[in-house]
């Protein structure tokens, strides 16, 4: 930008003339109190007023914002109950038996659901509201304000220049007025000056941003009460109907009517995964597809859909996302008494391996209850060092199961709830261990019966969410970005032009400029360019003061040197 060497003066002490400066203890350039005014706490009322002022000052809002950031740090470092892997909390308890209960007590394993996080959030919201809403009112008024009257001494403004013209003062000012309006200034023609201002959108943008932030904070908090989410595991050929009891896990917001969930349903026809088969990143997933047939309600015609990652099924404000996937081996078990049990049981993926683990429980087997723990190996092989069966690829290229069969008491009658994915072997005796391929049957020792590995299916898990606040939050965040762009990209600037006759009867045109929060710089250039074109519109006569001063042959830019010698304080901007 400083292609144009800058000769525009900048004055340090503009506070005398600008209405734009930040005066401590007064509304700042945002029109916001930076500090609460000091009030004597003599009565309850004045205390409340003091508290309110303190809470709604910009400083407090910023401190609360920082507190919110600080408060979220432990949530990112310690395991969280609501996080991606809640089991890590249990692990933490095992690893740090003394520390964990203390941390738990102050809510550090559930930071984002803790009381103190909510308290900061709420205070921030109130503070922001108290800060922004009054400002919006002021801004609405300010938006219609005309540019302020010209200061007495235009030459003392941060940016100033002057020249003589042959035009009459009135004619010159008319031209200036027309010129500035054409440049999209809000310009007023006063009797002896033109007052102009531009960049009102800056404040509008700033306000839009903060208001939108308020909406986001509010929207996130309020709409949570009307949201629900849940997850469900569905085997191939099985169906899911959207009722609370169909879910494996269901977390409703406070105001959700559990009886009135949208009545859609779907059947998982087929789950398909493909994987890298090259040497590079071998075994990494390429695609996952869950092919479903679904209906928005029982009476609607059935439709086909392919639920993929990043490609949820959406209906009635509810989205169905593909979560995990795995295999469900199919066992046919015959007990000693001759009963047949047909079980297709989902096995869960084991982290860091291509194995799937699960259990089968047969409490009704006679004479003893039967239990099976096992691994499903989609591509079975033998570990060259340990000689143990392992799985070397996630696709079912060479499927097998490794099972241990137990008989005895499954412990289901103790009243302690048990995971369906774990077998309590304390009251069981191991009958046998076997590696089986689809179609294999083993006979259990002691005449306890037989186990057949009949085959397998795949399963997929789905996360189902409903959040009516999303559109609100989305619109608000878009407004935030727009507001930011205007607020950081637009500069608010004022220009005053005065034309008067000097003692010799010539018309002196004086121009002064001022910009608010010109932290980003660049007004010097704009002012210089503006003046270059303004001098075309209001041409200088031969006796131009600036021309005389710079008779040494300096270039045209020297025209912008002010006529009044001034102290130069701020080192100039370079950009």
């Amino acid at each position: 930008m400083s292609e144009t060497p800058v000769d525009v003066r900048e004055n340090p002490d503009t506070s005398a003339v600008s209405g734009l400066d930040t005066v401590p203890e007064a509304p700042d350039e945002y029109g916001t109190r930076q500090r609460a005014p000091k009030t004597s706490v003599s009565s309850v009322f004045s205390f409340l007023r003091w508290a309110w002022y303190s809470l709604t000052s910009m400083r407090t809002a910023l401190i609360l914002l920082f507190l919110l950031a600080l408060a979220s740090v432990p949530g990112s470092i310690l395991p969280q109950r609501g996080g991606s892997d809640p089991f890590r909390v249990n692990q933490y308890y095992l690893d740090h038996p003394t520390l964990a209960p203390i941390l738990d007590h102050v809510g550090l394993f559930n930071v984002f659901g803790s009381v103190w996080f909510a308290a900061i959030y709420l205070l921030l919201f109130v503070s922001l509201a108290g800060c922004v809403l009054p400002r919006s009112k002021r801004h609405l008024k300010a938006m219609r304000l005309r540019p302020p009257a010209a200061p007495k001494n235009i030459g003392r403004l941060p940016f100033s220049t002057s020249w003589f013209t042959e035009l009459e003062p009135d004619a010159a000012l008319d031209k200036v007025h027309a010129f500035l309006r054409a440049k999209h200034f809000r310009a007023d023609r006063a009797p002896s000056s033109v007052n102009a201002e531009k960049g009102y959108l800056r404040e509008t943008g700033n306000l839009l941003f903060h208001l939108a932030l308020l909406v986001v904070l509010l929207g996130v908090a309020v709409t949570a009460g009307f949201s629900y989410n849940g997850s469900v595991l569905v085997k191939e050929h099985d169906a899911f109907t959207n009722t609370v009891i169909s879910y494996d896990a269901f977390t409703p917001g406070r105001f959700v009517d559990r009886a009135k969930l949208p009545p859609f349903s779907f059947t998982l026809n087929k789950f398909e995964a493909t994987y890298h088969r090259g040497d590079n990143a071998r075994g990494d997933a390429d695609t996952f597809d869950a092919y479903v047939t679904w209906q928005p309600n029982l009476d609607a015609p059935a439709r086909e859909y392919d639920v993929r990652v990043n490609h949820p099924l959406s209906t009635q404000g509810t989205n169905v996302y593909l979560g995990g996937h795995g295999y469900a081996p199919h066992f046919i078990i015959r007990d000693a008494a001759g009963h047949t049990f047909d079980q297709t049981v989902p096995f869960l993926p084991q982290k860091g391996t291509y194995q799937y683990q699960g259990v089968v429980k047969l409490p009704d087997a006679k004479p003893d209850q039967l239990g099976i723990t096992g691994f499903f190996l989609p591509t079975a092989s033998v570990d060259p060092t340990t000689r143990q069966p392992i799985s070397i690829f996630p696709a079912a290229d060479n499927p097998a199961v490794v099972i241990g069969v137990f008989s005895g008491n499954l412990g289901l009658d103790t009243g302690v709830p048990q995971s369906v994915y774990e077998l309590d072997t304390s009251k069981l005796t191991r009958l046998t261990t076997a590696v089986m391929r689809p179609g294999d049957t083993i006979t259990l020792p002691g005449g306890e019966g037989t186990v057949t590995f009949a085959g397998f299916e795949e399963w997929a898990s789905f996360n189902i969410t409903h959040d009516p606040g999303k559109p609100i939050v989305l619109v608000a965040v878009c407004a935030m970005v727009l507001g930011l762009l205007a607020s950081l990209g637009i500069r608010r600037r004022r220009v005053w032009v005065r034309a008067s006759r000097d003692f010799a009867g010539r018309t002196l045109v004086e121009v002064g400029g001022l910009t608010r929060t010109d932290a980003s710089g660049g007004f010097d250039d704009e002012f210089a360019r503006l003046m270059t074109s303004l001098r075309t519109a209001v041409p200088a006569d031969d006796g131009d003061p600036a021309d005389h001063r710079d008779a040494g042959g300096a270039d045209q830019r020297a025209d912008f040197v002010a006529t009044v010698p001034q102290p130069v304080a701020a080192p100039d901007k370079e950009d």
Partner: protein, 351 residues
């Protein structure tokens, strides 16, 4: 689609070439900074005018530029020195001519490195048929590219060549870490990463990260220059003096830093929002306080704090600068510590 191994290999060769060119560029920037005559080069009459008489008592005319020979009353302490009086006095004519040449050579090498860098990213992307910012190696390549691009853009438009020596050092370092530590062979992306919202999110985050880096460098330079200026007025000795001598004054640097941050903050905001939209598509939750999200949020707040500090009386200058550096610290933490040590959704525990 299979990986094009030839292209992937070409990409690796290109990045080594780029690092080499950047290194030479860095050395030239260093020489330029150490020996160049900056007052005449930077063509900043107003500043020279305001400052040189005050601090050096030497006529601004010593810089050889005719359009700045206006003598002004002494400037107050706020202006930092740009060049030491003794050196600008001693600087010989041919010395400065060579120095000017070195500065141009530095830019040329940086440009060459930039072209190779661009080629490396392009071929990497073509070899895997996707946007090449899917892992930390690729992301580091992309963000350093964004930083160098930002630097080249502002140094042509705003004559900010002085940033070169201080920016290119971390860029070369980061690229070194990328090829030596973070490198992974070219591979397609896992399904969850195949989304255009993710592409938008990561692109915006990359650009933002790169520009934040340039902003952090400018902020660091500001702190050094500001300290030096303060030391000059109080007469106290100060460290890093020789560094401060090759920098422009504190005010300039502060302004540059602010502009960079003001430019990039909306981009960062957008990046976080795009990430949230992506998360919404992928998991059905736009915000889950996943560690990476949490730190993106913290970064956002800290930089928002910086922007406010910059507009608040009593916080401008050094205090605001520390806030900006804290912001960059949170980005680095997110990239290195969270990515590598803290698992979350971003690390694909589930699928």
């Amino acid at each position: 689609m299979p990986v094009d191994v030839g292209l992937a290999r070409l990409s690796n060769d290109l990045i080594y070439g780029g690092i080499l060119a950047y290194s030479v560029g860095f050395l030239c920037f260093a020489m330029d900074a150490a020996f160049g005559n900056h007052v005449s080069e930077a063509k900043q009459p107003a500043r020279a005018r305001a400052k040189v008489p005050a601090l050096a008592g030497v006529g601004a005319a010593s810089s050889g530029s005719s359009d700045i020979a206006v003598s002004e009353p002494a400037a107050p302490a706020s202006s930092g020195p740009f060049t030491s009086p003794s050196r600008s006095g001693r600087m010989s004519r041919w010395g400065s001519a060579i120095a000017r040449r070195v500065g141009a050579v530095a830019v040329l090498f940086t440009l060459a490195g930039w072209a190779l860098h661009a080629g490396a990213i392009l071929t990497r992307g073509l070899s895997v048929h996707r946007l090449p910012w899917g892992n930390m190696y690729e992301f580091t390549l992309a963000l350093t590219f964004a930083a160098v691009t930002a630097f080249l853009a502002i140094s042509t438009r705003h004559r900010a060549r002085y940033l070169g020596v201080f920016l290119m050092a971390p860029v070369v370092l980061a690229l070194g870490i990328a090829v030596l530590v973070l490198y992974v062979p070219a591979a397609p992306l896992m399904p969850a990463l195949q989304s255009y919202w993710l592409a938008i999110h990561v692109s915006a985050a990359t650009i933002a990260f790169g520009v934040f880096a340039v902003g952090a460098v400018a902020t660091l330079m500001f702190l050094v220059a500001d300290r030096y200026a303060a030391a000059i007025t109080t007469g106290k000795p100060v460290r890093f003096t020789s560094l401060a001598r090759i920098m422009p004054d504190a005010e300039t640097l502060d302004r540059m830093a602010y502009r960079l941050h003001a430019f990039v903050f909306p981009i960062w905001t957008f990046a976080v929002i795009a990430g949230a939209i992506w998360a919404e598509y992928a998991w059905g939750h736009y915000w889950q306080w996943d560690p990476k999200e949490t730190w993106a949020f913290i970064t956002w707040i800290v930089y928002a704090g910086y922007l406010h500090a910059r507009a608040t009386a009593g916080w401008r200058g050094r205090k605001a600068a520390y806030v900006a550096l804290l912001g960059f610290g949170t980005i680095l933490f997110n990239f290195f510590v969270v990515n590598i040590f803290i698992s979350g959704m971003h690390s694909y525990a589930g699928l």
